[in-house]
């Protein structure tokens, strides 16, 4: 999937739709919409014990929000408990957007600017418009499944570095490449090896963000080509005439999770010298577990970036992005845990 950048200053719209049809819905808000040029990003989310209903509701809401724009890519996350339920959620979304458009992963919960959902939910991000080019790739059979850091560290490092390099090699490297999103079945701390492999191809200064699939037994699925995969990694290359601001923050207590979410999102809002398009937040499930009220982190983020910017936030088993902790590798981004990694996209 690779679209060319056709226009630098074409019409650009933004909206986020939150769909929730079950009695267990957590929040509703009117669609946020920001008009812009050339890039269309939308989010939608739905919560329902029936994954097919949630997937359909979220996909329908997203399609409606996209209007005439055909999405180049839909990133899907879900937090159902069993493979059969996940399969139904994937099928529902693929039935609307097609198997070549949808990529994604299982996670522990998600949020849009309208609310947080930490169980039985589907969350979607659509990327479209002629101001952005999207290409994707996946590597399978990395050889990391079943290996542990304690017993197999060297082997893990070798396998995941090789997989990371192979993944990056599969993607085109446009001159206007701005950011890579990585979703992988390689949880923290294994994720450090994968990103090092990617960086052997892209270099240490290229912006890379993303998250690791849910690592609960039997739930570590990636979605690509309409199918479910494990022991793999997928990448999305975003190119175009837009800016990206990155920030990462680590925390392991309720108050610090909220504070770092506020600080990190404020940092990207301050760094971005252009009009914001959407905020992506690759967050740690451990941080979610420390929150007394899961809604508090989103409130803090919105306090920094406002309520009109589409937010696509997800809780993972490890994060890729600019770590704020000691032991930095000398690279802009790394694979770690307990972080929230913000990527704020903006147009000039």
């Amino acid at each position: 999937m690779h679209a060319l950048l056709l226009s630098l200053f074409a019409a650009m719209t933004y909206a986020t739709v939150f769909a929730a049809e079950s009695a267990r819905e957590q929040a509703k808000s009117p669609s946020a919409a920001v008009e812009g040029d050339g890039i269309v990003m939308r989010t939608a989310a739905a919560q329902n014990e029936d994954p097919a209903k949630a997937g359909t509701a979220a996909a329908d809401a997203l399609k409606k929000a996209l209007g005439q724009t055909r999405p180049q890519l839909v990133i899907m996350t879900e937090c159902y408990d069993d493979k059969a339920l996940k399969e139904k959620a994937l099928s529902a979304v693929v039935s609307v957007f097609g198997e070549k458009t949808v990529v994604g992963t299982a996670n522990y919960g998600s949020f849009t600017q309208a609310g947080t959902m930490d169980r039985d939910a589907v969350c979607l991000l659509a990327i479209g418009g002629d101001g952005i080019a999207v290409s994707t790739a996946m590597v399978e059979k990395m050889g990391a499944a079943g290996l542990s850091m304690e017993a197999d560290k060297d082997k893990l490092a070798e396998k995941l570095r090789a997989a990371g390099a192979a993944l990056a090699e599969k993607l085109p490297k446009p001159a206007d490449g701005r950011m890579m999103i990585v979703l992988a079945d390689a949880h923290s701390p294994k994720n450090q090896f994968l990103i090092k492999g990617i960086q052997t191809v892209l270099g240490k200064d290229f912006p890379i963000v993303g998250g690791s699939a849910c690592k609960n037994a039997g739930m570590n699925w990636l979605y690509y080509g309409g199918k479910m995969h494990t022991d793999g990694a997928l990448a999305v290359m975003l190119a175009g005439d837009f800016n990206v601001a990155l920030a990462g923050r680590q925390a392991q207590s309720n108050d610090k999770v909220i504070a770092t979410a506020r600080e990190g999102s404020a940092e990207v809002a301050g760094k971005l010298k252009s009009k914001p398009v959407a905020l992506l937040a690759f967050n740690c499930a451990g941080r979610l577990g420390k929150l007394d009220d899961p809604a508090d982190e989103l409130k803090a983020i919105k306090a920094s970036v406002g309520g009109q910017i589409p937010i696509f936030g997800n809780y993972f088993a490890g994060e890729f992005g600019p770590a704020d902790t000691e032991g930095k590798t000398g690279a802009l981004c790394s694979g770690c845990g307990w972080h929230v990694m913000f990527a704020l996209l903006g147009v000039k």
């Binding site: 304690e150 609960n216 037994a217 499930a285």
Partner: protein
């Protein structure tokens, strides 16, 4: 016997002692700081925060530096904390573990140094007290529990191994009790002596009240072998008056029908396996990284007597509240109450 003045002048090495045995034997010893390294609530390799609790039992302020040596090869930040504790103050000091390795034995030696006018060095063995995600079949088969994080305690030469799992539906547990014989519970003779396990689970902020009029903040259960129809009894729930903990009540009306229980014995090992739906414990909200309180007693009524999981958690000796556990007829209770059941545990993702 080391004199009190000498204790103040030189470092007091408290080797092999846990801080639940505070230095109260001599007047000067009471001036020493009491410390406890809390359990890791997720696997060390995933970078948890290790909290070190320091209590100043003296009548004067405690100032100095707190340093902690974790196992070789670990990296931890900060390297130390400055101590400024007023008389009687207790404070928690966090150390973020940046790099660590998990040990199969789940015992991590830690050395705590309180560098002050009364230097104290305490060595403790810390466990990872965490329930990984898994959906086991409740059938008494231990093979599904290999991806749990076992906690082992030895009482009178006999081992007990406690393993926990969680999933969206259930809180699950496998307890392996080494004992000479298993005395089963007989519903027709409920006052008769029997073996059992007793455990309590609560949200992380829960505390044990001191007055019988205080409200319980825990769910507490008793599990016993009863032939082909093993039992799980719910002894107390949050909001109930703690006076109930002193009453020896008929057990059958307390039976929790929705719990799945299997008790099986192989050789010298009795295995208690059970699953309790979270729906019956609405105060608990399991997600990876979330902490809760837990502890467990083993009633080996015809053998080693009471076994207390708190005994391997570096608890302070003074932390034995009288109303922490419900009294049950048919099991033996020692004169000294068990440790409190509000011990830090955590839910975590699957370990691989």
């Amino acid at each position: 016997m080391i004199g009190g003045a000498l204790l103040i002048a030189v470092a007091a090495w408290v080797f092999g002692q846990t801080p639940q045995a505070p230095p109260t034997k001599a007047p000067d010893e009471s001036r020493a700081a009491m410390v406890r390294v809390e359990n890791f609530t997720v696997a060390p390799s995933t970078g948890p925060v290790a909290n070190v609790i320091v209590h100043n039992p003296a009548e004067t302020a405690l100032t100095g530096t707190l340093r902690v040596n974790f196992p070789k090869g670990w990296t931890v930040t900060p390297a130390s904390h400055e101590l400024k504790l007023s008389a009687g103050q207790t404070q928690s000091f966090p150390f973020a573990i940046k790099r660590a390795a998990d040990l199969q034995a789940n015992v991590y030696p830690v050395e705590v140094r309180v560098e002050s006018s009364a230097n104290v060095v305490v060595r403790q063995e810390v466990v990872c007290a965490s329930a990984p995600y898994y959906q086991p079949a409740i059938d008494g088969d231990p093979n599904e529990w290999k991806d749990s994080i076992p906690i082992t305690m030895t009482t009178a030469g006999r081992q007990t191994v406690v393993r926990l799992y969680w999933n969206r539906r259930d809180f699950c547990m496998m307890v392996e009790v080494e004992e000479d014989a298993l005395a089963g519970y007989n519903p027709a003779r409920p006052e008769g002596p029997f073996d059992a396990i007793q455990f309590a689970i609560a949200k992380r902020s829960a505390r044990t009240g001191e007055s019988p009029a205080d409200k319980a903040q825990r769910y507490e259960y008793l599990v016993a072998d009863a032939g082909d129809d093993d039992r799980c009894f719910r002894l107390i729930t949050p909001g109930t008056e703690l006076a109930l903990a002193r009453q020896k009540r008929p057990l059958e009306p307390l039976r929790l029908a929705e719990a799945k229980v299997v008790v099986k014995r192989t050789g010298r090992i009795t295995r208690y396996e059970l699953a309790i739906p979270f729906k019956s414990m609405p105060e608990l909200r399991p997600t990876p990284g979330r902490e809760f309180c837990f502890s467990l007693l083993v009633h080996d009524t015809d053998g080693a007597g009471l076994r207390d999981l708190g005994s391997v958690m570096n608890m302070w000796e003074s932390n034995r509240p009288a109303l922490a556990w419900c009294r049950v007829a048919g099991v033996k209770w020692p004169d000294r109450p068990p440790f409190d059941n509000k011990i830090e545990f955590g839910f975590c993702s699957s370990i691989h």
